[in-house]
């Protein structure tokens, strides 16, 4: 389905657009986005629209917003941040970014990892969001027609971010519930062979850690496995760690940076790149703050130049620099945020359990990975999953994300977000699910 060219009144043929403009690689025709449209047309509101669709398909973190507001209220110097050095701020469009802000990001990223890894501000490249960071890295690491291996299930946006303008292909590394969707060596080898059989040159592996949509951290042993594999094949490893601050317990999250550090950066760290952003952990997606952290000098230099297309406003950099360098604030924020997310997670798991629904045991992220396969008429059919999804969207009025849009091979899994709403709204959503499950049971 491409974009229809309008019928025009003139005799002249209509001026053409590019292939990219008329392709559907933007992926916005998938149920992932379709559900959002249904929500947009009938959004739930506690008072004005209590029977509307509750948005559980958007991984946004609103549980710790008050902490940010409190900080800004208490720290008037944020107010003054704009006024000092205004001349440099307004004009400052240097793609290196403000040194103070890069240092702040490096410090914050280290704090999230319990200071088990140190980040060098000069290796930080700033981008307007992680979306741009992932796309930019793909442009740098792979040629059009090459491939990146990505473990399934994965964030639906990757289909667009990694493929659309870059012309690079995604070859899935299939993971399944038999081992809690962890990546195995066989799965890696198999994916690599798949790519070769399609004549794609594999340029790297892209993982999300903690995983979206699974909501679990990747085990250290798997990170070691991945590092060995990419070294053996002489390819890159991109670790998208945007949910690193949303792991419920700091000790359970292991960053690839820590593994590299423990290996003394042997076996070329030059193939490893980390993506981070403030959109999830800090709940500031509107600010458009993303970073690429690379251990490869050429990647850093090239990414910097390319970041001209996606710079972060100097005002925003200034605004956040002092907040993120304030160690007592960041330490406290990270701790409280983790606790609140954990609490939310337990609330939703309990609620789903009492409705008779099992989830993957998660320990991170803004969502849980729910198993509704027992409800499917045909457990092997994707269509069955979509029928169920449609019922939940239109009858139960919950927008959740079907596993098929995340390229999950096993039908029946759904991603359910829990951090983008108040506790009350979550309770209501759980009540609706309960009622739905009771209806199904009584029908059987």
């Amino acid at each position: 389905m491409g974009l229809k060219i309008e019928q025009q009144q003139h005799q002249q043929p209509c001026v053409e657009l590019s292939k990219i403009a008329i392709s559907n690689t933007h992926g916005e025709d998938s149920p992932y986005f379709a559900g959002w449209k249904v929500y947009d047309e009938n959004p739930y509101d506690e008072f004005t629209n209590p029977s509307g669709v509750i948005q559980m398909g958007l991984a946004e973190n609103q549980v710790s917003f008050d902490l940010l507001e409190k900080y800004i209220e208490e720290h008037k110097e944020t107010k003054g941040a704009l006024e000092t050095n205004f001349k440099e701020n307004a004009l400052f469009q240097d793609y290196h970014g403000l040194k103070s802000f890069r240092s702040a990001m490096a410090s914050f990223m280290g704090e999230i990892r319990g200071n088990r890894a140190k980040f060098d501000p000069d290796r930080i490249v700033l981008t307007a969001g992680a979306t741009a960071a992932n796309e930019l890295l793909t442009f740098i690491l792979a040629n059009p027609g090459d491939a990146l291996l990505v473990p399934t299930p994965y964030y639906p946006g990757f289909d667009r971010d990694l493929r659309w303008r870059t012309g690079v292909n995604i070859v899935p590394i299939h993971c399944d519930s038999s081992n809690n969707f962890q990546i195995t060596e066989q799965a890696l080898e198999s994916a690599y062979k798949d790519a070769e059989s399609m004549s794609y040159r594999v340029r790297g592996i892209l993982i999300t850690n903690p995983s979206n949509p699974l909501g679990i951290t990747i085990q250290r042993s798997v990170l070691e496995l991945l590092l060995n594999f990419v070294t053996k094949k002489n390819i890159h490893l991109v670790s998208d760690e945007i949910y690193s601050g949303s792991a419920f317990s700091s000790s359970e999250f292991v960053s690839v940076a820590e593994v590299l550090e423990s290996r003394n950066y042997k076996n070329s760290a030059e193939r490893v790149h980390i993506v981070y952003s403030l959109s999830k952990d800090l709940g500031l997606p509107g600010f458009r703050v993303g970073t690429i952290y690379s251990y490869n000098d050429r990647v850093v230099t090239t990414a910097r130049r390319m970041s001209s297309f996606t710079l972060i406003s100097s005002q925003t950099q200034n605004l956040l620099a002092s907040m993120l360098s304030n160690k007592s604030f960041t330490k406290s924020y990270i701790k409280i945020n983790r606790e609140r997310l954990n609490k939310r997670y337990e609330m939703i798991i309990e609620g789903l359990k009492s409705a008779g629904i099992e989830c993957l045991k998660g320990n991170a992220g803004l969502f849980c990975w729910m198993n509704l396969s027992p409800l499917l008429k045909d457990k092997t059919s994707r269509e069955s999953e979509l029928v169920l999804w449609n019922a939940i969207l239109h009858e139960v009025k919950l927008n959740i994300s079907p596993g098929s849009s995340c390229h999950c091979l096993e039908p029946g899994w759904f991603r359910v977000c829990f951090a983008n709403m108040s506790e009350n709204t979550l309770k209501i959503a759980l009540e609706r699910i309960c009622k739905f499950m009771e209806r199904i049971k009584s029908q059987q």
Partner: protein
């Protein structure tokens, strides 16, 4: 006189011209080898010669200035080279020998050594400061406007932190529409209406906002052309277009040369010629890209010229992109005419779906750091695609709020424009006058932030080589960074872009004195 130029990039587009060079050698050589070995030698010898020619060119390219290029940095920016962290000294030899590969695009980017970027880089490493570094390099290669920043600074002090309510992140923390919030679009539509002469209405539903005009141009390129297609662009042109249009979209820029005899105004004959030559080479031309007011010359397109361009685009069924970022930075007597004005007055006769405007606040409001750009198009399909693509380049929400507030302060905007225009007029007049007193004439200009200066009398030889040697003299003797015409693809050697909006009136004598030093050196050595 045409210049001798080296092939600029190692991209695939350089190969067509190389193979035609090869052909030119084969024909005469066939006569030589018609005796023994005939066809074999007749093809081997030119191939060998061709091979050695390529090798020679490669060596010449490599021996050029190897400084890493850099985009316009501010004076306070840090040096781009990276210190290696101690922990990396343990890298195994395996990594350094076989080295993990990057893409072809990455290689092209890292090899980009245009004098435009090299100059900006060098100037940023040794920036002039009246008190702390009076012998530093004066930056005249960056079209920023500091003449009226004091006014913006005053406004920021009063209102920049949200006034009495203080700074609030309420309502701006969450995901916003990627193509810009409605309030900002409305404010920009009003602002553009004012800037473009008060006669055009800009519809917010035709707007897509981006993090600066740079991604706006790139996104449009992605929408309007495929990899390997081309846009026609009058020369000299803004060096950044090479990056914005060629790097990732892979769209080529075919120069349409303008000459000093025409004050570098575009000739439709030249445009027609460039178009048909491209067609003959099998290149698909998808559009024309112009800047108005023009960067680097500073002249403006007349209404007639705009009509000609629109007709041309209609006739060939291609797009017309007009970059109007300097629309509000005019100081001459000519009135600026936006292409939008023509479309509004002649909407029945023109298919506006092929016309797209680029705008932004980096020049007219000196807010380059805030990253505010606009794609304005009447083509619903282009808008739909651009809306999806701008998720990679969205404007930060707090900045959208701040800028909305500033643009809505109509009195402030009016004051700013009047004051800024007067200051620009003054500095421009003084500077051009002072230049002519030391024998340097400038092209006639009425907009933009720069003079297009003719230094062809000072270069020897009259070629790109001579021009770059003069540029080096300016850098090392005069310690000023100005942009050589070759970086802007100007076909006549010896022209330089000098930005005047980062100079105060009392700094003009200092700059002139430094330029005069170089003029003397050149006269002495000739």
């Amino acid at each position: 006189m045409t210049r001798t130029r080296e092939p600029e990039s190692k991209s695939k587009t350089s190969s067509p011209s190389s193979s035609s060079t090869g052909m030119k050698l084969i024909v005469p050589l066939q006569g030589v080898v018609q005796g023994r070995g005939g066809i074999l030698l007749g093809s081997l010898i030119p191939c060998a010669l061709f091979y050695f020619f390529q090798l020679y060119l490669k060596k010449r390219r490599r021996s050029n200035d190897k400084h890493p290029s850099s985009n316009p940095p501010s004076p306070s920016s840090s040096f781009p080279e990276l210190p290696r962290t101690p922990s990396r000294s343990n890298l195994s030899s395996r990594g350094s020998l076989t080295g993990v590969r990057l893409s072809r695009l990455a290689t092209t980017i890292s090899d980009d050594d245009s004098a435009y970027y090299v100059g900006l880089n060098r100037a940023s490493r040794d920036p002039y400061h009246k008190l702390t570094n009076p012998d530093g390099i004066i930056q005249l290669g960056l079209s920023d406007n500091t003449l009226s920043l004091d006014l913006i600074g005053d406004w920021m002090r009063k209102w920049g932190s949200g006034g009495d309510d203080g700074l609030s992140i309420n309502g701006i923390a969450t995901y916003q529409a990627f193509d810009g919030v409605d309030e900002l679009k409305l404010a920009l539509s009003d602002f553009m209406h004012q800037v473009m002469g008060g006669s055009v209405h800009f519809d917010t539903s035709n707007m897509v906002l981006t993090a600066g005009a740079t991604p706006a141009i790139e996104i449009l390129s992605f929408c309007l052309a495929d990899h390997g297609n081309a846009f026609l662009v009058p020369t000299p042109y803004y060096p950044g277009f090479d990056r914005d249009v060629k790097w990732r979209p892979g769209v080529d820029l075919i120069p349409v040369h303008c000459r000093s005899a025409d004050n570098f105004n575009l000739s439709m004959t030249a445009l027609e010629q460039a178009y048909s030559q491209a067609r003959k080479r099998g290149v698909k031309v998808r559009g024309i890209l112009v800047s108005n007011p023009s960067n680097p010359v500073g002249n403006m397109l007349t209404q007639d010229m705009l009509y000609n361009l629109i007709d041309f685009a209609e006739d060939k069924n291609i797009h017309l992109i007009v970059d109007e970022v300097f629309a509000g930075s005019t100081y001459g007597s000519e009135k600026f005419v936006s292409v939008a004005e023509i479309l509004e007055s002649d909407s029945e006769y023109i298919d506006n779906r092929r016309i797209h405007i680029i705008y932004g606040l980096s020049k007219d409001l000196a807010l380059a750091g805030f990253r505010v750009g606009v794609i304005y198009s009447f083509n619903k399909n282009v808008l739909a695609t651009a809306r999806k693509l701008c998720r990679f380049s969205s404007i930060s929400a707090p900045t959208q709020r701040l800028v909305t507030s500033m643009l809505s302060d109509k009195k402030f905007i009016q004051d700013y424009f009047e004051t800024n225009r007067n200051r620009m007029r003054q500095v421009h007049h003084e500077f051009v006058d002072a230049l002519s007193k030391i024998g340097i004439k400038c092209a006639k200009s009425s907009g933009g932030m720069f003079c297009w200066a003719d230094m062809s009398g000072l270069i020897k030889p009259y070629s790109e080589k001579g021009e770059l040697e003069l540029w080096e003299k300016f850098m090392s003797i005069a310690k000023i960074n100005i942009t050589p015409g070759s970086a802007c693809h100007c076909i006549e050697p010896g022209w330089f872009r000098i930005c005047f909006t980062t100079m105060s009136l009392d700094e003009i004598p200092l700059v002139i004195e430094r330029i005069r030093r170089v003029v003397e050196v050149c006269k002495f050595s000739s």
